[in-house]
Amino acid sequence: MIEKTDRIRGKVYVLGDNVDTDLIIPAEYLNLVPTIPEEYRKLGAHALSGLPDSYPPFVLPGAFQSEYRIIIAGRNFGCGSSREHAPIALGAAGVQAVVTESYARIFFRNTMATGEFYPFESVENLTGLFKTGDEAEIDISRAAISNLTSERTFALRPLGAVAEVIEAGGLFGYARKTGMIAGGVKRENNAHVK
């Protein structure tokens, strides 16, 4: 989970298209329950451990957090499973923003619901314009990301209503903050049960 901020600055980790949930958090770690604090931490330790061994480790062995704060990726980020463990693992590992060309539906919804990081969409595909290890800074109000290593700036799509939900800590945080907790009334009749 992250604090409200105007800027996000840190090292970048670059991935390609179709980064699926099995890469983000392999199924063998799904026995961890995210609402148990010790297991939430452990999910962070295994974030992106599904990547082939040719990739630099996202989290170093023995660590619980990554040195990379920002992930840059291509299309369809988070495709595959509905496991909420996926955005949670990234957030637990210390990711503050993902900047990708497009998201898979459930993953985007889960990121918003948990408020674990800012889910940005880039206007163009940035995977060729950043290298893993580059330093970057995201200006949230300007909706822009700067590659401090190459000194180039790129546009992001504005987050719109999603920003407030993330800043409030996710769906429930937002609902409480705006006084709308529990979006409705209990069903009046259970007519279907005879």
Partner: protein, 432 residues
């Protein structure tokens, strides 16, 4: 203004006369499904947000089907089932298909319709991406995460956006060597793994209505692999017969308006389709089975919500009868009901389990998700090294079945059975 079946179901669930794609609406939930991997996290959020002693909105509308990590020594997996059991007891829920009891069923997306929880016209959310399977029975069904599910537990409602409909007209007479799996792999191959993102995939046409319910479920099951929000098939007599045989609860099917226009439509002549595979490492990596005859395999796997239903095993048995497999062949029936039918159903007078045993398949495993998604290291069928696998399952991402070095080819039960015989990717026509 004519509406599609998805729009009409959602309109009814939202108490609206009409909804349009792009509308953000609150829908009443008919069924919430969860299992052992996502249930505990969902319960944790529910208690945290609604209170330790909070009661769910309607205990009869929550269905808990443990299936993912069941036959394992993993302690946390057992702990997670304990968490579910405690919650069920506390809430007075009646639909809990508990492991180690006679009530255990197995794979949630096969058990849910088997147990009568899927009814046309209803709205189903599940903490599993393959919840889209249930559109096969004319319901709106989609996967969500723990937080959304916890929200539903407390309120019985969810805020969603109405998806645009993509229509896939599948016409022509399906050849006997072509299955629903070949049909959906062809579609995903054509539109890509994000070709249907946020959309409803509607499957129509004579080739769809000719499918039995199992095959319709296979079609809708993989809609999520194209990024879809839901997959759906208009209910007909087959649907009603299936559902009436399994539940006494009242239901009212919803039908799309005949002249409702989808956002986009594709037309296919299924009589031209051929058996295919999805090559590593994306479900959209389409190739014809007959053009991959040179690929050597180490393992065949028949199981999962996608390819472990009774019809899938009957198809495999037709090919394996009187023949022998040349590679280790793993069989995992999706549910206890499927497992029981393997002992009673026959192909040409021979019982399925005998066909598989005589063919040299490994002993049939107890029903669960097993190796479809790898799982704990002691999971039946989990890859450990560089095994090249052909499988009736739904995903072939790197490491999906356990080992990062084990490539996976997705295929129909006919193609998997044919390939198990030769030890290479094989078009089932070689044996038909």
């Amino acid at each position: 203004m004519p509406s599609t079946i998805t729009e009409k179901i959602l309109a009814r669930a939202a108490g609206s006369s009409r909804v349009a794609p792009g509308d953000n609406i609150w829908v009443n939930v008919d069924i919430l499904l969860t299992h052992d991997v996502c249930g505990p996290g969902t319960i944790g959020i529910f208690k945290r947000e609604f209170g330790k002693t909070a009661k769910v909105w309607d205990p009869d509308r929550v269905v808990i089907i443990p299936d993912h990590y069941i036959f394992t020594a993993d302690e946390k997996a057992h702990r997670n089932v304990d968490i579910l059991r405690d919650f069920v007891k506390e809430q007075g829920m009646r639909y809990f298909y508990e492991p180690d009891t006679l009530n255990y069923k197995g794979v949630c997306h096969v058990a849910l319709p088997e147990e009568g929880h899927v009814r046309p016209g209803e709205v189903i959310f599940g903490t599993d991406s393959h919840t889209c399977t249930h559109g096969a029975l004319g319901a709106f069904a989609t996967g969500i995460g723990n937080t959304d599910a916890a929200f539903i537990l407390g309120t019985g409602r969810l805020l969603i956006k109405v998806p645009p409909t993509l229509r896939f007209n599948l016409n022509g007479a399906k050849p006997e060597y072509v299955t629903a799996k070949d049909m959906i792999l062809r579609i995903i191959g054509d539109i890509g793994v994000d070709g249907a993102t946020y959309c409803a995939m509607e499957f129509c046409g004579e080739a769809v209505t000719a499918l039995n319910i199992d095959e319709r479920m296979t079609l809708c099951n993989m809609a999520v692999e194209a990024g879809a929000k839901n997959g759906i098939i208009e209910p007909d007599e087959k649907t009603i017969d299936y559902v009436r045989a399994r539940t006494k609860l009242a239901f009212e099917p919803v039908y799309g308006d005949r002249d409702a226009q989808p956002a986009r439509a594709w037309d296919y002549d299924v009589s031209t389709f051929e058996p295919c595979v999805a090559e590593p490492h994306l479900p959209s990596n389409f190739a014809l089975a007959r053009e991959r005859r040179h690929i050597k395999l180490d393992r065949a796997y028949i199981g999962s919500c996608t390819g472990g239903k009774l019809s899938d095993f009957i198809m495999a048995a037709r090919l394996l009868k009187g023949r022998k497999v040349s590679i280790p062949t793993f069989l995992v029936p999706a549910t206890t009901e499927v497992a029981e039918k393997l002992i009673t159903e026959t192909v040409d007078g021979k019982v399925l389990v005998e066909i598989f045993a005589e063919a040299g398949c490994l002993d049939i495993a107890p029903p669960s998700c097993a190796a479809c998604l790898g799982g704990p290291v002691d999971t039946f069928g989990r890859t450990q090294d560089k095994e090249v696998v052909i499988s009736t399952t739904n995903r072939n991402f790197v490491g999906r079945m356990g080992s990062k070095d084990a490539p996976i080819y997705l295929a129909s039960p006919l193609t998997v059975a044919a390939s198990a015989i030769t030890g290479r990717i094989t078009d089932p026509r070689e044996f038909m």
